[in-house]
Symmetry: C3
Subunit: 352 residues, 3 copies
């Protein structure tokens, strides 16, 4: 976790993120830490001016604070967005592990595969026929790279990832352990004697800067492609069905499942354990809450915030849910009214 | 993806699926493709007569169409079920990859294991004591086959599959990457000092023609067996608990979880993200919609279509859900009635 | 499944669990079995006095029964908790497989790693720099142990498990196949150009006697640690997010997902497919039913039983759900009342 060097000065780091140093900019910082866990060589942050007391109490060498967030007697960097500044500084102080270019003696690389000069290939990796791996890419132990796979530059393929034949990864793609790209989609045609496999002959394209969490599965297209757009981030144990198209800068939390041919447009945010039927569409920038269910063919409009099964606008859902919680009282009120109306009827009958 | 040969004639392919050629049956077709992606060497299909215009516009050499689905100036095959015909033709034009029989130098095969003559064993595969592998089976890189495992003929075991000791696979079973068969079921007995493992000593039997998707887990029986019936198809990331019994030709979509000792009978269709409690039963041919929840011990009757948590008949659920969506209006109507009844009461009190 | 020896006498086994033998205590028992599957060398059990007829019909050499559960002409052990007694006896008759200490020729163990004398390391295992593995631990084929990992005594690491750098396991931890510990948590900060990774530099600590099911993922802390307490049992395909803290003797069923920084206290019981938002807290001994959804920041009180999305007390939920099912009748009653009130209004108008 340390940077194994002398770190950077506060002034250097502040310049990097366009911040304003208040205090001694020549202090050296070696790592980032939480505000509670920081020591005198750490950079910490507080996102909210309400937490400035915590900043003061922290052992951190320097704390990134919101603009005008002065802290008596403490070196701070003022930044418009402290958490973002902290993330950018962490990128500098804790660059991802870069293994020296090498191909492990136990790796099995097909003769027809083309590997860039600065590739790292770990133990027991298998790389198939005609596969291409770009410079700076690291493929860790036990990963399987099928035939005709294309992996571009500076990717990190964690242990035991499986890339079926013929899939493509862009630059700087990170696949965490156990990710599976390009398994057959789930398509069958029922005949009298049982199910016949619908052909699953397509491919998968993962664009630049995508990160995919552990054990997530992205199935290959049936006849076309499954695509995940540039800069999209997907959590662990997510299922992406065949022919799904996911746009750029989409975020998808853990255990969500996306059925075949569904489209998620740019900048959408999808919670965990969401289920999407096939041929649905989540338009640009829509937000879908955790555990929501989207029916097949449903369109979630751009910019909306949706929740529930089946999905409804969040505000509507909250009202409905409140009514749901008061059903017993509603039933009581209804029964009381029935009693009163029966009495009114009786009194009127009496009178006439 | 190409068949690396001269393909088949339209007449040959039509005969295979009992179709009717309209046009030049001697045209050669090398692959299947979508109606939009087809070229002059491709066979495409349209399922619905409404799409015949698309068929006409397609570059495909030949299009499979519904009966009487003539397309002006286009070679077609008329078939009762075009999608099924297309799947069957795809099986012929795109047979699954068959690797030449061989055992990779880095595979670790126990001396007591028995392998058929035409088996393929990939790099870093481990095959345990007394395991048996039938002719034509392909075990890909990194797969683990435990002691006393029995794998029958023509199976495909994709990379990094794990078969715990003592499980059995029938013929033509396909296990996608990362499938785990036979891990311990989740059974404990609470004592004062914490949980003790209930014995998980049983086994798993997977019958012929089963296909199981990436990262699906099928736990071994506690004392008996977990069984998956002939021709059943299971999607990715599904959990099958200990002692579950799944019948023949069952379809189970992604991320569904089935608790211990539950029974799913033949021809049932189970959506994605369904949860089933233990000791439940889904009878023959029932359909359970995505995200449904089945309580422990619940019986879903044969041939019914169920949805929701807990499951109800789909038609009932739709009505209930519509009422749910109108709860605010119902509340308003109730309040208006209260007002009117109060007024009636007041007027009557006045009169008497 | 057999113990490969002469087994134990009923008297020995009974003494072990503090039972009372009725019948011939010198009978030898070699294995445990279900009451239906037992043979004359098996020990079976019935938990409930209602099942004593089954006990009588069983072929078992001996049956563990509840106190005073005499069975005519059958050797039995009376025990206060038969299922627990059965589990404890199974531990003796079926001890976990213990592989002879050895390091497979194809394992890659870093020179700086420290392995106990009685460690088993299977084929193609990779063990990283400065990793430490305690005596009696078994690491099966294809597992990946990162740099600076600490594994203590008598653990079982099943095939294809991945331990990222710097995580710690206590004693007697069991990780089933495909478990991934220490992958990056899912944290990003949005900037104008897309998402930047929030640093994921923390670690994971798994305490003694934890068992984790196949393909479950436990992410590393962002800046601190993710922790799973002593004696906790987690099922397959569960997602544990960064900085989650799980107490002792917690049980979590399959496919549940726990978002970042959530706390689950000791002795909680969590069903399958539960979703927990971030920064939630499940207090000591609470029970959360399957498929429940816990909102971010929500506190589930100690000892309560909760269900639904969002969670409510189970009793309340059952009542609400019953009302939900009668919404059509409620609507009808409301419409009938409207009719009657309209009539009353009309009659009153007539009169005045």
């Amino acid at each position: 976790m340390s940077t194994h060097d002398e770190g950077k000065t506060v002034a250097e780091l502040s310049a990097l993120i366009g911040g304003q140093v208040v205090g001694d900019g020549s202090v050296r910082v070696k790592r980032v830490a939480s505000i509670e866990g920081a020591d005198e060589e750490s950079m910490a942050f507080v996102e909210d001016a309400k937490l400035l007391e915590k900043a003061q109490a922290s052992q951190a060498a320097c704390v990134i604070v919101p603009a005008s967030g002065r802290v008596e007697g403490k070196c701070v960097i003022e930044a418009a967005r402290p958490k973002l500044a902290f993330a950018l500084i962490a990128e500098v102080l804790h660059p991802p592990k870069r293994r020296a270019p090498s191909i492990h003696a136990t790796a099995h690389v097909a003769a027809s595969a083309e590997l860039g000069a600065t590739v790292f290939v770990g133990a027991n990796v298998q790389i198939g026929e005609r596969a291409r791996v770009g410079d700076g890419t690291q493929i860790l132990a036990g990963a399987f790279v099928g035939d005709d796979v294309e992996i571009n530059r500076d990717c990190v393929i964690h242990p035991n990832v499986v890339l079926y034949d013929n899939v493509t990864l862009g630059d700087r793609v990170i696949l965490h352990a156990g990710v599976i790209i390009g398994a057959d989609g789930f398509g069958y045609v029922r005949a009298e004697d049982g199910y016949h496999k619908f052909p699953q002959l397509g491919t998968v394209v993962i664009e630049d800067d995508v990160e995919i969490g552990a054990h997530t599965c992205v199935d290959r297209g049936a006849l076309g492609e499954t695509r995940i757009g540039r800069g999209t981030k997907i959590d662990n144990l997510v299922q992406v069905g065949h022919n799904v198209s996911i746009g750029e800068r989409v975020v998808i939390a853990s255990q969500t499942g996306i059925s075949g041919s569904t489209v998620i447009e740019d900048d959408a945010v999808i919670g965990g354990q969401v289920g999407m039927g096939d041929h649905a569409r989540v338009q640009k920038g829509a937000v879908v809450g955790s555990k929501a269910g989207i029916l097949p063919g449903k369109i979630v409009r751009a910019g909306t915030v949706m929740w529930g099964v089946p999905v409804r606008p969040l505000d509507e859902y909250k009202i409905l849910n409140a009514h749901f919680g008061r059903l017993p009282q509603m039933k009581e009120a209804l029964d009381e009214l029935r009693r009163q109306v029966a009495e009114l009827n009786a009194r009127l009958a009496e009178k006439s």
